[in-house]
Every structure is written in structure tokens, then in C-alpha cells.
């Protein structure tokens, strides 16, 4: 196998090529741009874009248009990795008569399109993770940003009422105007009209209204397609020479969303195509919002939170905007919704990826509390060293104090405390003060 053809030049295709080279693939590696994901963009397309038109499975080749002429690209192995195609809602004014997106309208299938957004005021339409990330990135660039979503709050179905409300508050604080529970009814140049008649100024209207796997090539070539292109654990389609990864691939009935999952498929396929024994194991669906505006993470779905035989741990801190729902089965995470808990999110994601059990002090984990003694354990042991560098305990210091060393320097002389790194000078001073006060009050009592 020494001629690998990859259809689409999205981030996943590049990653696959990079990892195959890393794993020692020496053969030819060609990447062909499928029809640009956002096909309704008005021409002219950037010059030299090769748009793939057909897949000829019998003669193991792909046909593509290169600035007018049709060329055939043979393959030993073909990898289909087109980015998801954004879904365009049926709102009047979005699409021109010729079928192209009208002025100022951008459809985002994946994060990669975000850089193309310009304009002073931007309205983001949608409520999924991409919409929230896009809105917060624009706000961070101090663009006048409004997020319009049909549900009461963004990510409503993924986070639930209370948590999505907290996210909305946080977005508002970061400068995003959030309009929940409203649907858009018409796009007029530079504006967007909502169902309640209000009109929002929108130099750019960014559509984050979901995306669908791009299976056109596979369908035309009679590959097995369901929602996405069906693949097995070798990421192989129904044609043994053709693989599929990324947004378009469907494994075990699931479309794997997110860049993280796509990169894992690229890694696994790179190993498979370079002769290593590897099988694709999807990780349970997880979301980690990529924005500094709010720490948001979910594992599994809201429904998974209430599976029988699990323990549900929940935390609600409205004042500090912290929220958690954790479903555990024998101390392992089955599902989770975590908001505003940065270190808990980090620890729980890692333990979940490793399939490890959570610590027994889940409250301390969620609230980020320092380790605390158990309810029955004795107080902190009295004889812990005060000066680490010279292993000088409080007891030794007190004996030296009783023997007449009443100042820090005297104690340093007698017991070597504070002569290492100096970090304990303040606590030795405090001890001197306390012991001095104690003896003074005893003297007063005695006299």
C-alpha cells in the first residue's frame, strides 16, 4: 500500500497525514479538497481549489475538477474525511435565489470557519457548544456580540435549566448579549428580525445551527451510509480499500462529535495504515467547552445522570456560579455536568479517561478544598517539624526556649532552627512571642 489519497483538507486530514509520516509511512500521500464545506459561499473560489466530483470504486480512482478540467486520482487506499456541512435553517433572507448565502451570512460547521467572521456587530444564531465558543471568542475580541437561541438558555438540553442559566449569566458578564427563548424569522441586509418583532443589527450573522455529515460522495458510490458513512473498528467503510474518519464517520451507530474524537480516529487510522495492530475504541460522548469565559464539561448525557444503581452527587452554588451533577457507579464516573469548577473538571476528565475511581472525598474534590482530616481522626500531630531544613520539632524548640534561648537568633544557635532556607522564621518568632506571653501571665498570676 503506497498510494494513499485523502479527500478533504480540513484539520483532521492534515493531522492524519502528519501522524502517518510520524509512524514512518514512506509512500505518496495526496490530499484533495472536497467541495468546500460551506458550498453556498459565492464564487470565485480561491484559485486552484480542486473540487472532487466523483468516486469510481471499480477503477480505484477519484475524479476532480481543477480550474475547469477534470482529472483522475488513482488510489490504493482512500480516506474520506470531509468536514461536516452546516445546516442552514429555512429562514427567509439567508440564501439568495442562486442558492448562495446572502451578504454577511456565515455558516459554521466547525470551529475552523470562525476566523472568517468580520463586522462590528455580530449575531450568533444557535445554542450548541460551537455557538457558545464562537460568541465568547468574538466578545473577547470586543466585537459587539449577541447570541440568539430558541431554548431559554444556550446549551439548555446539554446542561439543564440551572446550569445553562449560570452559563448565560457568565456570557453576559463577558460582554455577550444573550437572547433566550426566541427564534429568528427573517434576515434583512445588516439585520435579523425575531419572532417577537424586535430587529437586531447584524453586520454578520453567524449560523451555528448544527451540521450534518457530508456523505454525498459515499452515497453516489453506494457505500454503506446511515447518518454518517458506516465504518468498523478498523475505520473501514463497506469497501475494504476505503476508510472514513472525522465528522462524516459513523461507528456503532454514533457520529463522534468534537475535534478530540476526530484526532483519536486520525491517530488510530495512521497506526492501522502503517501496519500497527490498532482498533478504534470510541470514548463515551464528552463535551469540554474551549473558552476562558466559563469552565464547562459534560460526560455522557443528562439522561445518563439518572441511570438506576448509580449514586448522584450534586452541587449548586448560585452565588459563586458553581454547579455539578455527578453520577457514579462503584465510584467511577458514568455521567457528569460540571460548571465553574476548573480543577474538578481536570481531575474528573483524567480519571474518567483512565477508567479510575474518584477519591472518597467527592465534596472536597468538587469544591477544591484542601485535604482535611476525617471526622474521627485526631487533631494534626503536635510534633510536626517547625523547621523542615533541620528537622527541628516544636518540642525541641520549647526545650531550648526553657533552657534560656528566648530570641529567634538564640534558638537558631541552640537548635539550628531558621538556618536552612529561612522559611520558618515567622513561625519561630510567633512561638517565641506566645511562650513569652505565657510565662509573663504565669508570673503575674504567681505574684
Amino acid at each position: 500500500m503506497n498510494n494513499v489519497l485523502i479527500v478533504d483538507n480540513g484539520a483532521v486530514a492534515q493531522r492524519l497525514a502528519e501522524r502517518m509520516r510520524h509512524h514512518g509511512y514512506e509512500g505518496t500521500l495526496t490530499t484533495l479538497a472536497a467541495e468546500p464545506a460551506d458550498s453556498r459561499r459565492r464564487p470565485p473560489f480561491p484559485s486552484g481549489t480542486r473540487t472532487v466530483t466523483a468516486l469510481d470504486r471499480e477503477r480505484h480512482r477519484v475524479l476532480a475538477h481543477v480550474s475547469g478540467t477534470e482529472t483522475a486520482y488513482p488510489y490504493d487506499t482512500l480516506v474520506l474525511a470531509p468536514e461536516a456541512r452546516p445546516l442552514i435553517p429555512g429562514i427567509p433572507g439567508l440564501v439568495s435565489a442562486k442558492g448562495y448565502l446572502t451578504e454577511g451570512v456565515v455558516a459554521l460547521g466547525t470551529a475552523s470557519g470562525r476566523a472568517r467572521i468580520t463586522g462590528d456587530t455580530v449575531v450568533v444564531l444557535g445554542e450548541d457548544a460551537l455557538a457558545v465558543e464562537t460568541a465568547s471568542t468574538l466578545a473577547a475580541r470586543s466585537v459587539d456580540t449577541t447570541l440568539v437561541c430558541a431554548s431559554p438558555y444556550p446549551l439548555y438540553t446539554r446542561l439543564g435549566e440551572t446550569c445553562s442559566a449560570m452559563l448565560s449569566e457568565q456570557l453576559e458578564q463577558a460582554g455577550v448579549t444573550v437572547i433566550g427563548g426566541k427564534t429568528a424569522v427573517r434576515r434583512v441586509p445588516g439585520h435579523l428580525r425575531l419572532e417577537d418583532g424586535t430587529t437586531l443589527r447584524a453586520d454578520t450573522l453567524a449560523l451555528c445551527t448544527g451540521a450534518a455529515p457530508d456523505t454525498r460522495l459515499a452515497l453516489d458510490a453506494d457505500l454503506d451510509v446511515h447518518d454518517g458513512i458506516v465504518v468498523d473498528d478498523q475505520l473501514r467503510t463497506s469497501d475494504p480499500r476505503i476508510h472514513a474518519i472525522g465528522d462524516c464517520a459513523e461507528y456503532d451507530g454514533h457520529l463522534m462529535a468534537g475535534v478530540g474524537a476526530a484526532w483519536e480516529q486520525a491517530e488510530t487510522l495512521a497506526e492501522i495504515l502503517t501496519g500497527r495492530a490498532a482498533a478504534y475504541r470510541p470514548r463515551p460522548s464528552a463535551l469540554r467547552l474551549g473558552t476562558d469565559v466559563a469552565d464547562v464539561c459534560t460526560i455522557g448525557s443528562l439522561a445518563d445522570l439518572h441511570q438506576p444503581g448509580t449514586r448522584l452527587i450534586s452541587l449548586t452554588d448560585r452565588a459563586n456560579r458553581r454547579y455539578a451533577r455527578l453520577a457514579l457507579r462503584d465510584e467511577r464516573v458514568i455521567a457528569a455536568v460540571l460548571f465553574g469548577l476548573p480543577q474538578a473538571i481536570a481531575t474528573i476528565r483524567l480519571l474518567h479517561r483512565q477508567g479510575q475511581r474518584l477519591p472518597s472525598d467527592r465534596l472536597g474534590l468538587l469544591l477544591g478544598l484542601p485535604p482535611r482530616p476525617a471526622s474521627h481522626s485526631a487533631e494534626v500531630n503536635e510534633n510536626a517539624p517547625v523547621c523542615l531544613c533541620n528537622n527541628v520539632s516544636r518540642q525541641t524548640l520549647f526545650q531550648a526556649w526553657q533552657a534560656g534561648s528566648h530570641t529567634v537568633t538564640a534558638l537558631a544557635e541552640a537548635a539550628r532552627a531558621t538556618t536552612g532556607c529561612g522559611g520558618c522564621s515567622r513561625s519561630v518568632e510567633e512561638l517565641c512571642g506566645a511562650w513569652a506571653r505565657e510565662t509573663r501571665s504565669e508570673l503575674e498570676k504567681a505574684s
Binding site: 444503581g309 449514586r311 452527587i313 450534586s314 452554588d317 452565588a319 472525598d361 467527592r362 476525617a374
Partner: protein, 400 residues
Amino acid sequence: MTRTLLVAGHGMVGHRLVDQLRALDTDRTWRIVIAAEEHYPAYDRVGLSSYLDGKSKSDLTLAGADLLNDPRVDLLLGCPVVSVDRAARTARTAHDDRIPYNALVLATGSRPFVPPVPGRDLSGCFVYRTFDDLDALRAAARPGRPGVVVGGGLLGLEAANALRLLGMRPHVVETGPHLMPAQLDAGAARVLLRHVTRLGLRVHCGTATASIDAGADGKVRAVTLSDGTVLEADVVLFAAGIRPRDELAGTMDLERGERGGIAVDDLCHTGDERVWAIGECAAVNGRCHGLVAPGYRMADSVARQLTGQTPEPFDGTDASTTLKLLGVEIATFGTTGPDDGPAVEAVFAEGSDRYAKILLSRHSGDLLGGILAGDTGSLTTVRSLIGRRPPADLEQLLLP
């Protein structure tokens, strides 16, 4: 020279006062007259349903022979106080007796609240408070037939259990979003609901009783709820809360709380320094207390005042209660609604069988209080942690 204490009412709290006073009044300076409205001496109202489960009236009676034969005590049954002349310091009873007093303690308790629903006076409608109520209920009960309890609080569930004990199939109608809305949150109520449903109770929350419909014989035949459902019912039991019996305060020209009850300070003193009010009829600093534990604390305080000892001022905050209800352990501890802003809430639950909620101060992180429902850890251990940072094994203490 003995002084006369007149106790108006011989419910559980009135009885507690008399019991405590007899114990504390070692040099026997007090003669006690009890004017009881009912024909039975004080009995255990908390465990009232057991009267329908094989227990007799005497099993439930609190007043023992030692009280009845105590020469210092005159127990007047069926003889409630009807008016009081505070200037003359004498009270008049329903039998027109005049009883002078040196000290008067009003322990008139409360009466069941009957919502103003059309048909509420039909035969087959009952309230659930006294032996007489239960006798009437037992007579009207039809095993196997449905009965409706109006009210999903603590009393409502007791009443529903009574119907169950009488072999009927009880419905419970509660206007709040879930059972026991005053004490529990949705999670704890879910544990309670799961348990009572298993016992055969059919619960309808978030809906009210629109009307009680009579059959051809003029007796109760069905109940129509505000959402339109019609529940077939031979019996209707009102347990939708209580109203403090503060009528005497009106005639005695004593102040009443905004939401009813005889207004008293935290020593249960009314405006008249010879008159106290304790139990459900009293509004301590404006708030009435329907449970027996706070009532007992008021009775103990007045008994100590009457025997010249320093009383414990009544503190309404620790509303911790433990209820063994229809076999389900429910407990609240500490404050469940702090005033220094919204607390941090943490819940540990397993299905709807085990539920433990705690509240932490959002400033210090100390434990403020919480709710335990179902098979949870020991309340005494958890309660001992109030006011401290949660220890590392708190979850194991809450849900072992």
C-alpha cells in the same frame, strides 16, 4: 399559702406543663386546675393513627394514675374556659364555673383548617385530630373503597395512613409541588413519595380540591380537583394544616400574631404578666410552631418560671425534626434557609431510596444544616458537625 394555676387545655403541651410543674414544685406551693375541652385526658396525638391499629385509648393516654389522684390537681373534662376577666383574675368555664387564678396558661392548641370548598359539610367529611374524630372515621370507613385526604403535609400523611389502616384505598391531594413542602425539598419528598406509593397511597400534587360532590343519598360520593380530575371517594379527610385557637386572646384583649396565635415573647409571656400561652396556640415572636418538640420546650420554660427557676428562652431556629413516618426516616437539622445569602447546596442521593442534602455557608464553607431522607447515616453524628468545615468523610457519614 398555695397559689392556683389554671391551665386552659389538656393537650400534649398542656399536660407536659402540668407534669413538669408537679416535678419542680417540691414544696407544693401550686394547686393546679386543668380545664380540658375534650372528654378524655391528654393523649399522644403524634401516634394517633395507632389507635386505628389495635391500640386502645388508654394505651395512648398520657395522664397516668399519679396525676389523676394527685390532690393538687383538679382535672375538669369537657369543661373548656370560655372567657377570662383579667382584672378580677378569674376565668369562666362552659359550665359557668368561676375559677380564680394566680397564674393562667393558655394551651388551647389548634383546630384543623378546613378549606372553604363547596360540599365540605357533607356527611362523610371528617377532620383528623381527636379520638372522637377517629371514632367517627372508623364508623364511616368502607374497606376496599377509596378515600381522599386533603393535605400532603405531616398530618395529611398520618391521616392517609389511618385510612390505609382502616382498609380503605387513600388518595392524597397536596397544593404544593410535592409532599411536606414546609419541611422537605423536592429530592427528599421524592424518597417519601416512592415509599408511600409502595404502601398504596395515590398522591396528587400541585392540585387543589375544587369541590366535594354528594351522591343521591346526600353523602360524599366523589371529589373534583382543580385540574378537573374526579376521584371517587366514600370518605374525605381534611388535614390541610392547622389554625391556632386564639379566640380567648380576643375576649381577654391580648395581642395576637400577624398570622394568628396568641402573641408571646420568647418566655411565652403574653402582655399580662400573669398570663402565658404555650404550644400550637402561641405565636412566639410572631411565629406559630405546629410540632410537639417546640411545644414541650415552651412548657418546660413556663414550668421553670412558675417555680422561680431561670428559664431557657425559646429558640425557634433549630427546627430539626426527626419523623418516623410510615416506615420512612425523614430528618432535617440546623438551618435549611440561611440568611447570609444563598448557601452552597450539596446533595448525595441513590435512586429515590436514599437522599442527603447539606448546606454550607458560602463564606466560611462551614456546615449550616441539611435534610436526610430514607436509609441515610445517623442524624446525631451529622448534626454534631454543624458550624465546622466538612470533614473528609462527610459523604460516608451521610450515606454509609
